[in-house]
C-alpha cells in the first residue's frame, strides 16, 4: 500500500514541518517514507509545498506527479496544485483561507475551517498539525499515536510548552478526518 500526499500553502505556515512529522510517523511504524520539499530563495511568504510518500515497499519516486491527496492550507498552494490532483482525488481544504470555488469537479473536497479551529484551540499556527491529523484520520496511512509521538520527537526544548496544544490539534484533526470515512 502506497499513500501519497502534497501539502501546500505559503512559507511560514509550517508546511515542510508538517510533512516531516507525517514521515517520521510512518517511520515509527517501520514504513518507507520520502519527503521532497520546495526550496527557494525566500524564507517567508511565497509558495511552500512538500510531497510525502508513505509505503510498505521501497519507494521508487519521491516526486508525485498526480497526488491522491492534496492538503491545501491557502490559495497560493491550492492554485498551484489543484490541476495535478489525481482523478477523483481528495482535497483537504482550509476553508478559513480558501474561499473560492473548487474548479476540479471530480475532486472529493473536504472543507474544514482549519485555521479557525486551530485558533479556537489556542494558536492559529498549529493549523499544520491539525491538517495532518485530518489526513491521518481519513487516509489511515499512519496511526494517531504515531503522529503524536513524531511531533513530540521533533519539538525542540525551546518549544516543549507547545507540545500539549499541538497534540490537541492533531487529535482534533484526526477526529474530524475519521468522521468523514
Amino acid at each position: 500500500m502506497e499513500n501519497n500526499v502534497i501539502i501546500c500553502g505559503s512559507g511560514g505556515q509550517g508546511i515542510l514541518l508538517a510533512g516531516t512529522v507525517l514521515c517520521r510517523a510512518g517511520l515509527l511504524e517501520d514504513k518507507f517514507v520520502t519527503w521532497l520539499p520546495s526550496y527557494g530563495a525566500e524564507k517567508r511568504g511565497g509558495l511552500s509545498y512538500c510531497a510525502v510518500v508513505i509505503s510498505d515497499k521501497p519507494i521508487a519516486s519521491p516526486v508525485i506527479g498526480r497526488p491522491e491527496v492534496i492538503i491545501a492550507l491557502d490559495n497560493i498552494g491550492f492554485d498551484n496544485y489543484e490541476n495535478v490532483l489525481a482523478d477523483k482525488g481528495l482535497v483537504i481544504l482550509n476553508s478559513s483561507l480558501i474561499k473560492r470555488e473548487v474548479k476540479r469537479k471530480d475532486a472529493v473536497v473536504l472543507g474544514i475551517e482549519i485555521t479557525e479551529i486551530a485558533r479556537e484551540l489556542g494558536n492559529a499556527r498549529i493549523a499544520n498539525m491539525l491538517a495532518i491529523g485530518v489526513y491521518a484520520g481519513i487516509s489511515k496511512s499512519v496511526k494517531l499515536e504515531s503522529i503524536i509521538a513524531a511531533m513530540e520527537g521533533v519539538a525542540s526544548e525551546k518549544y516543549k510548552e507547545l507540545v500539549a496544544v499541538n497534540k490537541k490539534a492533531i487529535e482534533k484533526g484526526y477526529e474530524l478526518g475519521k468522521k468523514e470515512k
Binding site: V33, W35, P37, I59, A60, S61, P62, V63, R66
Partner: protein, 354 residues
C-alpha cells in the same frame, strides 16, 4: 555522536556529509551555493567534532585548492558544490588529476547554463564524464539514485580516490540533496586493499624530499610519458563499473536513466508492468566508467530504448555508442528544472509500443 546502526530520517545533503565523516574524511572546504548548503552547514560543526578540519572557503577555487592541499598531506578530503560552483572547481580537479591527488567532489546539480535555477537537474553529465577541466584526463563519477545509495557511494568514492590516486565525483542533484528518506548508516570498511600513501608531503624526515606537481615541460617526452602512465591507470579504473538493472532481461522497452531519474523510471516501469507492458530499466551507477557492454547486450535484445534525463540529451550519446542502432533509441528529457514524473514516463513508454 555515532549515527551508525540507527534508522534516521535525514536529507541527502546531510547524509552525504555524515557518510564522508564515517568514511574517514577529515578535511572539508566549501562555499555556499543552493541546493547543497546543508553540506557545509553540517560539516561546520560535525567535522570539528570528528577531529577534522572545516573551512568555509573564500571561493569555489579556494575550496578545491584546499582539498588539493589537504590531500597532499594524506588526509581524506572533500568539497561540494552545485553546478555553477563545479564549473569554477574544474581548475583544481584538472590539477588533482595531473598531480594524481585523491579527493572527493560532490555536485548537487542544478539547472543551467549560467546561473540557471536552483531546481534539480542532470545537465552536468557531459562536464562530469567527458572531462570538465582542461587536459586529457578521466575521473570516476558515481551517480546515486537514493539517499542510502548516496551514503554507500560516498564511501566508494573515497576508496576509488585512494585506490587510483584520483579525484572522484559524486554526481547527484538538488532533489536528492533536499529530499529526506530513512537511512541506516553502515559501518565503514574499505572494500579494497588500498595502497600505502608513500607520496604525501609531511616533511622530509628520514627520507628524501618529495615533490608533487603537474608541470612537465623540461623536455617534450616527459608529459607524454606521464600521460601514458595515467592512461594505464584509466584502463584499470574502467573495470570499476557499477550498474543496476530492473526487470531488464525480458524487456521489450529498455528505459535508461541514472540518479534521481533512475528511481522515478523504476516507478514508471512498475506502472507499465501492471498493464502488461514489458518495460525494464538499465541504471548506471558509475556514469564513468560506463557499463557499455551491459547496455549493448540489453539494448540489442530490446525493441525500443528510451533514455530519460533531466537535460536535453547527454547520456543518450553513450547509449547510442553502446547500442549502435539509432532508430531504436528515443529520448525524453526535461531541461529546465521540472522533474519528469513516472506518469509522464509511462505515457512515453506507451507511445513507443504503439
Amino acid at each position: 555522536m555515532n549515527k551508525t546502526g540507527k534508522k534516521i530520517f535525514i536529507n541527502g545533503n546531510e547524509a552525504i556529509a555524515e557518510a564522508a565523516i564515517i568514511a574517514g574524511c577529515r578535511f572539508y572546504a566549501g562555499y555556499p551555493i543552493t541546493p547543497q548548503n546543508q553540506i557545509p552547514e553540517y560539516m561546520s560543526w560535525r567535522m570539528p567534532e570528528a577531529g577534522g578540519v572545516f573551512i568555509q572557503a573564500e571561493s569555489e577555487l579556494a575550496a578545491i585548492n584546499m582539498v588539493f592541499g589537504a590531500s597532499l598531506t594524506g588526509t581524506r578530503a572533500m568539497t561540494s558544490s552545485s553546478s555553477p560552483g563545479i564549473s569554477l572547481k574544474q581548475e583544481g580537479i584538472s590539477y588533482m588529476a595531473g598531480c594524481e591527488l585523491p579527493g572527493v567532489i560532490v555536485n548537487m546539480q542544478r539547472g543551467g547554463p549560467g546561473l540557471g535555477n536552483i531546481q534539480g537537474s542532470q545537465a552536468d553529465y557531459f562536464q562530469a564524464t567527458k572531462g570538465g577541466g582542461h587536459g586529457d584526463y578521466r575521473m570516476p563519477v558515481l551517480a546515486p539514485s537514493t539517499i542510502p545509495e548516496a551514503i554507500e557511494h560516498v564511501m566508494t568514492a573515497f576508496d576509488l580516490a585512494d585506490m587510483y590516486r584520483t579525484p572522484v565525483m559524486l554526481l547527484s542533484d538538488g532533489i536528492l540533496g533536499q529530499m529526506m528518506e530513512a537511512v541506516e548508516f553502515p559501518v565503514y570498511k574499505s572494500k579494497k586493499k588500498l595502497p600505502e600513501k608513500d607520496w604525501i608531503l609531511d616533511g622530509a624526515k628520514n627520507r628524501k624530499p618529495r615533490s608533487v606537481f603537474s608541470l612537465m615541460m623540461q623536455n617534450p617526452t616527459i608529459l607524454e610519458k606521464h600521460n601514458y602512465k595515467l592512461a594505464e591507470k584509466y584502463k584499470k579504473m574502467e573495470t570499476e563499473v557499477i550498474h543496476e538493472t530492473y526487470l531488464a532481461e525480458d524487456a521489450e522497452i529498455l528505459v535508461c536513466a541514472y540518479g534521481i531519474m533512475g528511481r522515478i523510471c523504476r516507478g514508471a516501469i512498475d506502472m507499465a508492468r501492471k498493464e502488461g507492458v514489458k518495460a525494464g530499466l538499465f541504471r548506471p551507477v558509475t556514469v564513468w566508467p560506463f557499463a557499455s557492454e551491459v547496455v549493448s547486450k540489453l539494448g540489442k535484445k530490446a525493441k525500443k530504448v528510451l533514455v530519460v534525463e533531466l537535460n536535453l540529451g547527454q547520456m543518450v550519446e553513450d547509449i547510442r555508442l553502446a547500442v549502435e542502432d539509432n532508430k531504436k533509441i528515443s529520448f525524453f528529457g526535461k531541461p529546465g528544472g521540472a522533474v519528469a514524473t513516472k506518469e509522464e514516463i509511462f505515457a512515453k513508454i506507451k507511445e513507443l509500443i504503439k
